[in-house]
């Protein structure tokens, strides 16, 4: 495996690439006289972003809250379900086709019926869409982690005459944490995207998704992209916070792989 790259490389290279890409974009828009409704220039997006930063912020709060609630619900249910599936393998076998289906169907397809089931004037449906999207990676990865418990640790617990709850708490759960975080890392930005796409199918106004579409509907693409920028930053914040949480919770284990 490669050694971890040096600091200038990890920071400088992506920043340079980003700056280059944005510069090319700006240049193309200016040089080719691309109309703003085809593609707004980075400068106009940045200008728009800074001038409407407060409404981007309030929209982000709405969508971010939905994503956060969805992330929490999905993660908690996913973890609990994985623990149940480990303790009672039959539940795992029963739910296998449902989980398999849920992991491949576009969750957003459920958004319209969820609005009907939980109320079109509430954020609940969006939170559930996010929660469902989060549930799958968290459940699958946690389950894998729980089953990963090394035989030597299991033997050790038996040798200590530990109760099954003691064994679960001392060995199985902590051992599953890195896997849980693999799931959470995938889930974090997924939660934001799902909550945002959920807005597409109705519900109270105010979120980023709705703001993007209504700005675009009146051809105000600079504003639309300012909101998109907000969405990107929001997704990034979720991802980074999850990453940071992982570093805090598990400072002393082999680095787990995965995005």
């Amino acid at each position: 495996m490669k050694q971890s790259a040096s600091l200038p490389r990890t920071i400088l290279a992506p920043v340079l690439l980003g700056v280059l890409a944005v510069a090319l974009w700006q240049l193309a828009v200016v040089a080719l006289e691309i109309k703003p409704f085809v593609l707004p220039s980075p400068v106009s997006i940045a200008t728009e972003f800074s001038s409407s930063v407060s409404s981007v912020w309030t929209s982000s709060l709405v969508t971010g809250a939905n994503a956060l609630i969805g992330l929490l619900i999905g993660a908690i249910v996913g973890i609990v379900a994985a623990i149940i599936a480990t303790v009672l393998p039959i539940t795992d076998e029963l739910s296998a086709p449902l989980v398999a289906a849920a992991s491949v169907i576009p969750i957003v397809a459920l958004a319209p019926v969820l609005y009907t089931m939980f109320g079109a004037d509430k954020e609940t449906a969006r939170q559930l869409v996010a929660a469902l999207a989060v549930f799958i990676p968290v459940y699958l990865n946690t389950l894998r982690g729980l089953r990963q418990a090394r035989p030597v640790h299991r033997d050790l617990m038996r040798a200590y005459g530990a109760s099954s709850w003691q064994a679960t708490r001392a060995v199985t759960l902590p051992g599953a944490v890195p896997f849980l975080f693999i799931g959470l890392r995938i889930a974090s930005s997924l939660a934001v995207i799902s909550a945002l796409i959920g807005e597409y199918f109705g519900g109270p106004i105010g979120g980023l998704g709705k703001s993007i579409t209504s700005a675009a509907a009146s051809s105000n693409y600079s504003l639309a992209y300012a909101y998109v920028l907000g969405a990107i930053i929001l997704g990034l914040v979720f991802y980074v916070v999850t990453l940071g949480l992982e570093k805090i919770v598990s400072p002393h284990r082999a680095p787990s792989t995965g995005p």
Binding site: K122, I205, S219
Partner: protein, 358 residues
């Protein structure tokens, strides 16, 4: 325009000029006239080979037009005014719908009969620029956007039916019918118009102009062939709409054949309601843009604030934003051919909606 270069106007040679029309939404009877014109060969008669492009949730027809990917587009005036201010150079060349179809409906027991009654209620809207008449009506009645809780409506009316939305936005030709096609749990029968209160923005005085045919301003000015073609396109389209007026059943069938999956009774209802928006024409013939109506639309667009405090436009649109030149020519030609372009004797048919619009 891929084939042929200059001979596009040369309809005598039998070569048809390819023309694309961008709709605002999926195929449905809202666009019955264009589909009828296509089906009945009216476009072909004018030497046009028309392709109709359907819309989608994120398709902004006026941007497709100004981006050069369509020759004409159907869109609402208030939505386009915003785009024009953002730099789109397009012109309203025929105002097909003379009246607004947007209403705010509510269950009788909610007692919402005027815009003023909306205060403190959960009010639905789709957004996407469909909300301006509502806001204008509220503003006129002294209801601030903060006084209501605004809910974005989904692609269905379930939110309204379940009571999540007190007053829902409904087009007379579509969502209103969707409600009437649903079972009223209280009676076990379908809802009837008696179960509902309707706020009609035409009556409230905040109606804005809706479906219009838009064309590229620059090409209209510089490209004579395009200008001629525009007249032809308007003329054939108007003939389509006249066909829809006279043959609503057939027109509905044509739209369904074009791929709409709406139920039969719903499709016919929509055709009939759309006809009511056009006929009889009081502006001197279908497609003529009424100065007063245009001004009302522009005034509302400049004076109405949405929930974020923004207005549609901040200044008067340029003069190129609309032109009666082309529709006048088209109407003249039609009148010469003895066609009735005002439909003064128009009488809508009676449509009975079935459950689910079947």
């Amino acid at each position: 325009s891929s084939s042929g270069s200059d001979d596009s106007t040369d309809s005598a040679s039998g070569e048809l000029t390819p023309v694309t029309l961008q709709l605002q939404w999926f195929a449905q009877a809202q666009f019955a006239g264009y589909y009828a014109a296509l089906d009945q060969g009216y476009y072909e008669d004018e030497g046009l080979d028309v392709t109709i492009l359907e819309g989608g949730a994120d398709i902004v027809p006026q941007d497709v037009l100004s981006g050069g990917d369509a020759d004409y587009a159907i869109s609402w005036v208030p939505k386009v005014l915003g785009s024009i201010e953002q730099g789109a150079e397009i012109t309203d060349v025929a105002q097909i719908f003379e009246r607004s179809a947007t209403t705010q409906i509510s269950m009788k027991d909610k007692n919402i009969t005027t815009a003023a009654d909306l205060a403190g209620k959960k009010v639905g809207s789709w957004g996407y620029g469909n909300e301006w008449e509502l806001f204008a009506g509220m503003q006129k009645a002294g209801v601030a956007t903060d006084d209501i809780s605004l809910v974005q409506q989904a692609f269905d009316m379930n939110g309204f039916l379940a009571g999540d939305i007190d007053a829902a936005q409904a087009m007379t030709y579509n969502e209103y019918a969707q409600v009437l096609e649903s079972v009223n749990p209280a009676t076990g029968e379908l809802f009837t118009p008696d179960d509902l209160n309707v706020i009609d923005w035409n009556d409230e005085g905040t109606a804005m102009l809706q479906d219009a045919i838009w064309a590229d301003s620059a090409k209209l000015a510089d490209d004579d062939a395009y200008a001629d073609q525009t007249v032809k396109f308007i003329k054939a389209s108007i003939k389509g709409w006249i066909y829809a007026k006279d043959n609503p059943e057939e027109a509905a069938g044509i739209v369904t054949a074009a791929g709409s999956t709406l139920g039969e009774s719903h499709q016919l209802w929509m055709t009939n309601e759309v006809n009511k928006l056009i006929w009889p024409s009081t502006s001197g013939g279908i497609g003529m843009i009424d100065e007063a109506a245009w001004k009302q639309t522009v005034d509302i667009a400049m004076g109405t604030k949405n929930e974020t405090g923004a207005t549609v436009i901040s200044e008067e649109p340029p003069a190129t934003a609309y032109s009666n030149d082309y529709v006048t020519k088209a109407l003249d030609e039609l009148k010469d051919e003895g066609v009735d372009v005002e439909g003064a004797d128009f009488t809508p048919i009676e449509v009975t909606l079935k459950a689910g619009g079947e």
